[in-house]
Symmetry: C2
Subunit: 197 residues, 2 copies
């Protein structure tokens, strides 16, 4: 595939086409598959945790789960390794034009991401503003600063869109990979490290 | 909990008691919980991948899965971060007194572990010889050397117990954590690094 410069209008057309029926999660998964096949990184989505209650065996060697329930995940959805760096993140989508509500993020995800940062990992959210079809990498440190103030009287219950423009990193939507988030991280590595190099 | 020196005999007694009804997987999970609470590492077991076919909604907000099947995992069971190092491993148990059969390991796990090593991660198996109640950390490099020869005419289809004694690292069974595998890795770090320090 040849990567050639295209005009803004043409790019939007490609973006819309590629986006038909796609979700943020599948765009990230297809980017991860590209990274894996190209030997760039090994990053996977974790399976959804499910509590199995009953299993039947209608055929030999084939267990059929007949009663089960979704469990709340205790970590984020994605993790792996990129050139020696531990990568850990979650993906969030919002329809809002003005902010990402913090109710989209769970307590256990914040404590997980804080633990990861403490251990020297690269932790962040990938946030999709659907109204603008814009994708951002929000470093965990920026997320924490909004989160830790949200219980104060004047604290925000959301992260404003302007904060994404000034403190997050936009990921251009592409063809292969669709969301080249590791390239953006490599270009801004110090924003993601506990001890900047 | 106070960590005090105990005699070998007393320790064995504790070991046997602690082991009642425990599996290798739960021993590892309880060790990981200890590491997490002590701020030593953030390592989790991935959920078992399940393909959901049908879901019903008998009550508001409560999805009940009524038909689902277990899927083959595409990676290993455990991963996370330990002081900046990406950690990735699987747990295997064997009843054999002489070797660990390589049929316990899947192709996709080998290719996953090879990808992890290439990216500079720490990859290994934790193997439990139930006949001796001994636990070993087998570095991925040793696993690969047996795996890559197994299709040759005289190639082994298993890794002999003696190879564990000489090329793997034994993990003493303890109280808290039960299996202090990170301590053993820290003591022998160069055996696990692509580029020894």
């Amino acid at each position: 595939m040849i990567n050639y410069p295209i005009k803004r209008k043409a790019q939007q057309k490609v973006t819309n086409y590629a986006n038909l029926g796609m979700t943020l999660e599948s765009d990230i998964e297809s980017s991860n598959l590209y990274y894996l096949n190209a030997g760039i990184a090994v990053i996977h989505k974790k399976p959804t945790p499910i509590q199995v209650v009953s299993v039947s065996y209608p055929a030999r060697n084939k267990a059929k789960i007949t009663e089960a329930y979704y469990k709340t995940p205790s970590t984020t959805d994605f993790n792996g390794i990129y050139q020696g760096l531990y990568i850990d993140f979650d993906a969030k989508e919002t329809n809002s034009k003005t902010s990402m509500p913090l109710k989209n993020v769970h307590d256990h995800q914040i404590s997980h991401l804080k633990g990861v940062v403490k251990q020297g990992g690269i932790a962040f959210l990938i946030v999709h503003f659907k109204a603008y079809n814009e994708y951002f990498i929000l470093p965990a440190s920026v997320l924490f600063s909004f989160w830790d103030n949200k219980e104060e009287e004047k604290g925000r219950k959301s992260i404003p869109y302007e904060a994404f423009k000034s403190e997050a990193y936009q990921i251009p939507f592409g063809y292969q990979p669709r969301l080249d988030y590791l390239k953006i991280i490599a270009q801004n590595l110090n924003a993601f490290l506990k001890n900047p190099r």
